[in-house]
């Protein structure tokens, strides 16, 4: 994995179809399709949840029923039929494993195809994995190492059972049940996800990471992630996603909540490479995600995302800068090809004094895709000396795609300093010519230029991810040269 050469890339580029488009046949324990209070209760019982959690879910479900699907985003798609989705699917062989040998071999095979060999990860990368296949976590590594430091890293259902006080205190505080249509749906039916707690003053020694996959046909995936960094702690959290090739659209509505208490820092990185649909725009994943972080005094939250997959993306990782001197960062690369649509960006809500935020967004559109940046920078009247810098650059390839920016800036304090700039351009013919002249073919030249264009964001990713992300960029854009 570390010795990734140009030859490997060339091999990969030959496989034009979505390379992770396989389907693992694991006997699944799937609920009947449809959604009502009974299903919500059943999910809760299945997860052996306490009474308060069941009530919490039902509350969310009741408010969800009164909400309507948002339509303001610059995306067009056939709305999912929420009654035609099965809300729970878990791999059957569910017992906890002590060692990897006990894990369903077919499942292990799936992981190796994805390039995540668990034992290799253990040794080489030093990454603890909470692997999620179809909503239930089946393997957790490095638990012991983490436990020594008092770090809790487990599935959210386990956390609800084992650490109910922590979960009860923080869940829904950043993204309330009624926050939006998809967040409410997620709150009602979330099947699993990750939970992470870093105790006071602890610097997490390794990158925490989860992989999500949507595996079972026709199941929605509703992940719930809760990361709490207690005072003075630090954690870097990685999330990577791939999904198998499916013709009907699959729905993914996740909620991620980050809480950075005083002086804490959370770095959250995502690489999203779900099935984007085929070249005619058929199939693909709908990705409607609510991600939000809360910063207390002197805390820092940094979002980094590389979005290359999904047919429709609707995602705005946000920071609420509540405490004084808190910092929010957002670095994003969104690549759309063929008929993909992405409406993504961030919200920076400045409430505390001397709060700072930085937004760097790079959009690359190719084929017939539409790529939108939508962001909000809000400076509250009490947020003295707030500072924001935003930069949104778009790169267009071919004349059938579109790039759009919708930055909202709302300022209610005179001491605020806000800068926003956006540019749209294409890859210059002279740049391509320069590369061609030096024996670099056009496809390779484009990859080179795109990588340069995205460098500011790629640099923010942890090492292991940066390599993968670079690969993804190239794969996503192949065949887009007109």
């Amino acid at each position: 994995m570390n010795k990734y050469t140009e030859d490997d890339l060339r091999e990969e580029l030959k496989t034009k179809e979505y390379e992770y488009g396989f389907y693992t046949d694991i006997a699944s324990d799937t609920f009947p399709v449809g959604l009502n209070e009974d299903i919500v209760r059943a999910i809760s019982i299945k997860k052996e949840e306490p009474e308060w959690m069941t009530e919490w879910r039902l509350n969310a479900f009741r408010s969800w029923q009164e909400m309507t699907e948002p339509e303001w985003a610059n995306v067009h798609y056939e709305k999912p039929d929420f009654q035609a989705i099965s809300y729970y699917s878990a791999p059957n062989s569910k017992p906890k494993y002590d060692s990897l040998d006990e894990v369903d071999p077919e499942l292990l095979d799936t992981f190796s195809k994805l390039g995540i060999s668990l034992d290799e990860q253990k040794k080489l990368a030093g990454v603890a994995m909470d692997v999620v296949v179809d909503s239930v976590s089946v393997a957790t590594t490095f638990k012991a190492t983490l436990a020594e430091k008092g770090i809790i890293f487990c599935s959210i259902s386990e956390a609800i059972r084992e650490y109910p006080d922590l979960v009860k205190k923080y869940i829904g505080t950043v993204v309330p049940q009624k926050d939006n249509f998809y967040a409410a749906l997620n709150s009602a039916v979330f099947s699993d996800g990750s939970f992470c707690y870093i105790p006071k003053g602890v610097k997490c020694p390794m990158e925490l990471s989860t992989y999500f996959r949507i595996n079972q046909a026709g199941t929605g995936q509703f992940e719930r992630t809760l990361v709490i960094a207690d005072e003075g702690s630090y954690v870097s959290y990685l999330e990577g996603c791939t999904a198998p090739s499916r013709d009907e659209n699959q729905l993914h509505a996740a909620v991620v909540e980050l809480i950075a208490l005083d002086n804490a820092e959370i770095k959250y990185s995502t690489v999203q490479n779900w099935y984007p649909g085929n070249a005619e725009g058929k199939g693909g994943v709908y990705n409607f995600v609510t991600k939000r972080g809360l910063c207390e005094t002197n805390a820092k939250i940094s979002w980094t995302q590389v979005e290359t997959g999904s047919a429709v993306t609707w995602k705005y990782p946000s920071c609420v800068l509540k405490g004084d001197n808190s910092v929010g960062e957002f670095y994003s690369i969104a690549v759309t090809n063929n008929y993909q649509q992405a409406d993504t960006g961030t919200k920076m809500i400045h409430l505390g004094k001397n709060t700072k935020s930085t937004i760097i967004s790079k959009g690359i559109s190719a084929g017939k895709s539409q790529n939108s940046y939508r962001g909000l920078v809000q400076i509250n009247s009490r947020a003295e000396n707030a500072r924001n810098f935003s930069q949104c650059d778009s790169l267009l390839m071919g004349n059938e795609c579109g790039a759009h920016t919708f930055p909202y800036i709302e300022v209610k304090n005179k001491s605020a300093k806000i800068e926003h700039e956006a540019t749209t351009s294409k890859i210059g013919e002279d740049q391509i010519f320069y590369c061609n002249q030096r024996g670099i073919d056009t496809e390779k030249a484009i990859a080179l230029i795109v990588n340069g264009f995205s460098k500011e964001v790629l640099n923010k990713l942890p090492m292991e991810f940066a390599v993968e992300a670079q690969k993804l960029l190239e794969i996503s854009l192949e065949g887009s040269v007109g």
Binding site: L396, T405, P407, V411, E419, H420
Partner: protein
């Protein structure tokens, strides 16, 4: 009865009273239907997210002021750019004032909309241009339905209009509250050039709501410079809908200077139907108290090799609110487009708010589009530099703010207008700049 019902129910009576040909009659009847269906925009609409009309609409406006009022020139001289010779089209409470006006039919037509829509001689122009640029949104439709009076300017081929044209709407406040709906049509044919200054002014503190529509057509290689001076009393509200439709190689610029009024909403739309078109949209906003100024611009690039330049500066004091919503659309065919947009703001008070949303929607790949937006304060080191040289704080601030808005003034082509605006800015900022341009 709310304002919408009042307007809709008075439509028939209005239609019977004014004498128009069938073409305009049909356009109006369609328009009132659109308005009836859509009603006044609310904050739920994306384009009106930051501007609420509620406070403006609750007044009981008299729609068709009955009393004839006359004004002495001496009393209103200061509202004219009087130090230069110009054509003038003046309206008092929506009615044409021949006494204050100076129109012409000598080679060019600078006259009245009411004449143009009723006389057969203008029929061709009206059928070709009337309501052909305005969009079908509710407020423009409302204006279309009640359009009867306003300026009609038609410049035929190859004419350079020597004198600027001033369009001034006075409201005398003879009624407790007045609603005015002027409708202007400006057609500039090939190679012609015209400069226009527009102003809305109320003479008392009685509430006025003006819902104005101006359609401007620039044909091949025509040049139009349009200046809007908005320095009205604190109870006057203005919804200004301007539509500019450009043909190839034409240049059009609209400068908007907003210093007064209770609520001002500028809907400024440019449509580029041809190659090598140049559009300029600039504005300076300096407001205080509870004033609200909203600039909502659209530049629609439809064909290749065109340019657009937008530059809006704003200074906001007290509890005032500024909104900038600039949209640039570049269609697939519009390759080699250069579109620039800048919006810079200074907040002076903690209660002032600025909401800005510069939008780019781009469907062509070979384009250069950029937008920049800043919100900040006066440069402390520049302040210190001046203070250390004995310039009082107030003056120094004024100088810096003047310098801040100066970029926009540099493209004003009529020296007298530039001078007037400079003075207005100085008064508004409460400083004596101490130099003329």
């Amino acid at each position: 009865m709310d304002l919408k019902d009042k307007l809709v129910s008075s439509f028939l009576a209005f239609e019977n009273r004014v004498d128009v040909d069938t073409y305009v009659h049909d356009v109006r009847s369609d328009a009132i239907k659109i308005f009836e269906e859509k009603g006044f925009p609310t904050k739920k609409e994306e384009a009106w997210k930051y501007t609420s009309l509620n406070s403006v609409l609750k007044q009981d406006y008299s729609l068709f002021p009955q009393k004839e009022s006359s004004i002495e020139y001496g009393d209103v001289k200061k509202y004219f750019i009087h130090d230069i010779d110009s054509y003038k089209i003046v309206f008092i409470d929506g009615k044409y004032s021949s006494y204050l006006s100076q129109t012409t039919h000598d080679g060019i037509d600078v006259c009245l909309m009411s004449a143009a829509i009723s006389k057969p001689k203008y029929r061709l122009v009206i059928e070709n241009y009337f309501n052909k640029a305005a969009t079908k949104d509710s407020l423009s439709s409302l204006n279309t339905a009640f359009s009867s009076e306003g300026a009609y300017i038609h410049i035929p081929k190859n004419k350079l209009v020597e004198k600027p044209i001033q369009i001034i709407h006075f409201s005398t406040g003879s009624e407790a509250a007045t609603m005015l709906q002027p409708r202007n049509l400006i057609v500039v044919d090939e190679n012609s050039h015209v400069q226009i200054i527009e102003r809305h002014q109320s003479l008392t503190n009685n509430p006025v709501l003006t819902n104005s529509v101006t359609e401007i057509f620039t044909n091949k290689r025509a040049i139009v410079d349009y200046y809007k001076i908005q320095n009205d009393s604190e109870n006057a509200s203005l919804i200004d809908n301007t539509f500019v439709k450009q043909k190839r190689e034409s240049h059009a610029s609209v400068h908007t200077f907003s210093f007064g009024g209770k609520l001002i909403r500028n809907n400024l739309n440019f449509f580029q139907n041809g190659e090598r078109i140049d559009s300029t949209l600039k504005g300076v906003t300096i407001i205080g108290n509870k004033q609200h100024v909203d600039h909502n611009t659209l530049v629609h690039h439809i064909e290749p090799n065109c340019e657009s330049h937008q530059d809006y500066k704003g200074i906001f004091d007290d509890s005032s609110t500024g909104v900038f919503n600039g949209k640039v659309v570049v269609e697939k065919e519009a390759q080699k487009t250069n579109a620039f947009q800048a919006n810079n703001n200074i907040l002076i008070s903690d209660k002032a708010t600025i909401n800005t949303k510069p939008q780019l929607e781009i469907f062509a790949d070979d384009v250069k589009c950029s937008h920049g937006c800043t919100i900040g304060q006066l440069d402390e080191s520049a302040m210190f530099y001046m203070r250390s040289r004995g310039i009082p704080e107030k003056e120094a601030k004024g100088l810096l703010m003047y310098a801040f808005s100066n970029n926009v003034l540099s493209s004003v082509k009529i020296p007298e207008v530039k001078q007037r605006i400079t003075k207005l800015i100085a008064t508004k900022l409460g400083v004596n700049i101490g130099f003329d341009l």
